[in-house]
Symmetry: C2
Subunit: 198 residues, 2 copies
């Protein structure tokens, strides 16, 4: 989304951009790991290495800041970046590697969507448009919308089991072995009955 911030002096405009990026990155980091309501402006500020008033200066308020980090677009680009016949394996692998490398995954934020209020509604609408419906558009055959939601459900559950429930067997097993066991279930939603590769 933006280049890494802190290196050497730079013009004021460049600093402002870097600061915005650092704030967004900090908010995204926190939002991927805990509920929106648990995150204070101060926590974002501390992580970004800025002051809370500076966040207000750049984003107006906490809600506006989080609106910016509530898009699933960039994450979905990576998640969906595979041919349909290999997409099940790719998506399971992507969730696992995101969890292992970043301690978060591209979909898990949806599990923290508040049930009431604009924040949750925005997150749900984005999730639908940018993840499930986008996946459904690639599927053929009956019930594509349902099948896309079920495939994504399986991935979200994997992220919850890994990152929140912290299932010890899941965390201790080689990622490719998990892919072997779990991806067929996801792929079965994408290409029911199996289809020739190609």
């Amino acid at each position: 989304m933006s280049t890494p911030p802190d290196h050497a002096p730079a013009p004021a405009r460049r600093d402002a951009e870097a600061t915005r990026a650092a704030i967004l990155k900090a908010a995204r980091f926190l939002l991927a790991r805990q509920a929106h309501a648990d995150i204070t402006l101060k926590a974002v500020a501390d992580r970004a290495g800025v002051s809370p008033p500076l966040i207000l200066k750049y984003f107006g308020n906490k809600d506006a800041l989080f609106a910016r980090v509530m898009s699933f677009d960039t994450d979905a680009d990576d998640l969906l970046d595979a041919p349909l016949d290999d997409l099940g394996r790719h998506m399971v692998r992507h969730v696992l590697s995101s969890q292992r490398q970043r301690g978060a995954d591209p979909l898990l934020r949806i599990a923290f969507a508040p049930l009431h209020g604009d924040h949750g509604d925005v997150l749900r609408a984005n999730f639908r448009a940018q993840v499930t419906e986008r996946l459904a558009d690639r599927l053929t055959g009956p019930d594509a919308g349902l099948r896309a939601e079920l495939a994504v459900a399986a991935l979200v559950g994997l992220g919850v089991m890994y990152g929140i429930a912290r299932g010890p067997h899941l965390r201790d097993t080689d990622a490719e072995a998990v892919v072997d066991r779990y991806a067929p279930a996801v792929q079965a939603q994408l290409t029911p009955g199996g289809r020739p590769t190609g």
Copy 2:
């Protein structure tokens, strides 16, 4: 866990029991729908029809109250109440019917487990002992612990998709049709390669 409260006058001991039950029920209701940190004592009190100080009198503090509602035991009894060969279908059906009837499901609380602090650790330990390991104990063959976690992951994801992401296709589809599409993936973890019924 306790009989329903509010009917007719009763002796003081009975009233105390009914009040405790009403408080636990209210806390469980709220905890199944939102993050622990979002729930105030006042919200529990309002829902239970008591005053916040009364909750403190009965349970000491908010954390102690929630420790009481953090067991998965009773829910797991129902979730796991089917022969192994039909358990995949039973569990998917149970998650869907719980969501449809109560707007919550027996496993979804784990998605709200805080990543830090005792509350999350208790919830995770209970989830493991009372749900995933209990299921693993019923499985035969290699990687039973992993397979149990993956089966439960798929169920948790289904609950998130239904109750939090609110996937419109999932919510609009007949439950048995969803069971037909999703349960085979769960069952494949329980009895890989399929096994004769009986």
